[in-house]
């Protein structure tokens, strides 16, 4: 995939552009893992890179690379599916390519500034030029504005292609949802002295992305992928999609309240947040059932031999269905009631959930889409998993599960000792951090991180080689 795909089987420029987005995405994913590893090592050996490349820097790059690679892979997926769904070439494709290069240049500059300049003096200019200092949204203001412009171009392309071409239910959901997704970014683009107000709007971006608009995005992608990979019936898939939208938005929008328990906001958010966020796992169960049901149904149909047109993509898709339910649904529900959250809020437990949810709900399906893109780019009828595909998914999933278990144990320990027993505070924090159970958990988290990195090496190796290899075998 990284090598230029010269003998391209992609009919549409839009799809070639999609592949360009995938390439940057996978590189940023690698950078993300590397930074996570540095931060994890610093938990064990705090002197590691102290004063040179501090934990805050490694972590900032870790989570920003995460958000950015996912947005890249999402845009890539849309450019890939757009011509298929609408039946026409994407309008404004030249502009789309320009936007890609502008965005990539901006991302490069932001990362270099994060790595080499890191922080600034306490002035407006730092917020504009260096670092906004708000978790996940650290990108300085100039970059925010650049992102908005690029996203406007992207949205223009999607919207007018949709208007001009054939309008499927899948694309209708996509177009409406992308508008909300892009619009929400604006909620994170202002400065206030009031930290409660700051956190209130910050969560609009973070929560209403990952628990509403990104989830609907995943539902849309899964609908498209099921049609393409296992020939699922469009009418059934689209009906499910609307049901998913209903349940996801119905629970996720007001589920936002689970972040408003302790930031200075009024008590009524306890009830609102608890009720609606407790319902959030329901659509995730439904999405899981949907994928398995369609799979079983299409496989059993007419007693024909089962046809999975893309083995690795399907494997990642099923991992997505289960991972979303597990990471977001189960691990999210664990700490979503205020009675629990008053103790777990802001502990390693949160980190356990954050990892499994982002991975299970998003990383998985986006990797699946990359495999699907490769299949199309090489014009392969049936893409079968290679040994490397299997090693990649096994090691990455195993590493992530192991890391989640380690962080969950660390979280329990922190919650019970630091929070319940000692009542938070500086000394309580460090007493809990110094316990052998915490140290063990942190060591296991690092080990599992290494397992994931090995899996990632297999993944990138597979992505680069699977296309040419399978294309050759298919043509023999």
């Amino acid at each position: 995939m990284l090598t230029s795909i010269k003998n391209n089987h992609l009919k549409y420029e839009s799809q070639k552009l999609g592949m360009m987005y995938f390439r940057v995405a996978i590189i940023l994913f690698g950078a993300q893992l590397l930074m996570g590893l540095i931060a994890a090592i610093q938990f064990m050996y705090p002197a590691f890179l102290y004063g040179v490349f501090d934990f805050s820097v490694a972590r900032m790059v870790h989570i920003n690379a995460l958000v950015v690679w996912m947005l890249y892979a999402m845009i890539g997926s849309v450019y890939l599916m757009l011509p298929d769904e609408t039946g026409i070439e994407t309008v404004g494709i030249g502009l789309g390519k320009l936007a890609f290069w502008v965005l990539t240049a901006a991302v490069t500059v932001v990362v270099l500034v994060f790595i080499f300049i890191q922080i600034g003096p306490g002035k407006e200019s730092s917020i504009w030029l260096i670092n906004e200092g708000r978790e996940y949204l650290e990108a300085p203001r100039w970059a925010d504005i650049g992102i908005v412009v690029v996203v406007l171009i992207f949205y223009y392309n999607v919207f007018f292609t949709y208007m001009k071409g054939q309008r499927t239910g899948i694309m209708t959901v996509m177009v409406a949802n992308l508008m909300a997704l892009a619009g929400l970014y604006l909620a994170g683009m202002f400065f206030t002295d009031n930290i409660s107000m700051d956190q209130y709007w910050w969560w609009w971006v973070i929560h209403l992305w990952v628990e509403a608009t990104w989830e609907v995005f995943v539902g849309t992608l899964a609908a498209y992928a099921l049609i393409k990979i296992i020939d699922a019936k469009r009418e059934i898939v689209e009906m499910w999609l609307w049901i998913e939208v209903l349940m996801l938005f119905g629970s996720g929008i007001l589920g936002l309240g689970h972040h408003y328990f302790w930031i200075g906001t009024p008590e009524y958010w306890w009830e609102i947040g608890a009720l609606f966020s407790a319902l959030e796992p329901v659509p995730l169960v439904a999405m899981f059932v949907h994928v398995l049901y369609d799979w079983g149904k299409e496989q059993g149909a007419n007693g024909e031999k089962p046809v999975i047109k893309n083995g690795p993509a399907m494997a990642w898709l099923v991992t997505n269905a289960f991972g979303n339910f597990l990471g977001a649904g189960i691990w999210g529900f664990f700490h979503t009631l205020p009675q629990v959250n008053i103790y777990t809020h802001g502990t390693q437990f949160t980190a356990a959930h954050g990892h499994l949810a982002f991975f299970g709900a998003y990383a998985t399906i986006l990797i699946g889409m990359m495999y699907y893109g490769i299949q199309r780019a090489y014009g392969i009828e049936r893409l079968k998993a290679t040994f490397k595909s299997k090693m990649a998914i096994t090691l990455i999933v195993f590493g992530m599960l192991g890391m989640t278990v380690a962080l969950t144990i660390a979280g329990y320990e922190q919650v019970l000792v630091e929070r319940a027993e000692l009542g938070a505070g500086w000394d309580a924090y460090f007493v809990a951090q110094a316990l052998p159970w915490m140290k063990q958990a942190m060591a296991w988290r690092t080990v599992m991180g290494v397992v994931m990195v090995v899996g990632f090496v297999y993944l990138i190796w597979d992505l680069v080689t699977i296309g040419p290899k399978e294309a050759k075998e298919n043509n023999q």
Partner: protein
Amino acid sequence: MAKSHSVWTSIRFWRQSAAWVTGFAVVLLILLTFDTMRQIKMGSKRVPAPTVINHHIDYKYSKKRGHEVPVIGKKELFFGKEWSPKEAAALLHKGKLTEQAKNCMDCHTLLGNGAYYAPDLTKAWLDPKWKDMQAMIGAKTREEAMAKFLQHPEMYPTHERRMPNLKITAEEAQALVAFLKHMSSIDTNGFPRGFSKTVSDFKAGGTYAH
């Protein structure tokens, strides 16, 4: 599904239901947002005005509410003076800017949000730890101890994991302490619960038998 007569398999039905449910959720969220904005604006009961830095702040259990709440007490000097509303607001502004520019939240949590590499700062101003730190740093007041620590955290390690030197100036440090003091006055519905309640016993050997 055109052939189907059941509403449960009608795409139209589900599409319309999705639109109605989403619309309802959005409208309710917007209404609640208006109310919340009113209740958390700077100078409200929940988020006091910047001049709160001129007051003693405590965090006490309220029987009625079932958790601790901030108690704003008598006036006290902050860095040796009383700050006018304008000065206090400017100081807080600088403090918040510095908090962001130095990226505090990628090690600490504020109001419980951020990173988990260092202690939560929601009630840092009230932390009993500053009594020890004041002695260690040789500062006359709590605010002075905090400001000195922030400028040279590498000089006052309390743990193997040390805060790095973030090139915080004296002015920025003062502003940051104001920001932290202000944050400790925010009504967080009792988070963190039982703040620092038994740390001293634990450090004395983890026994209550004395």
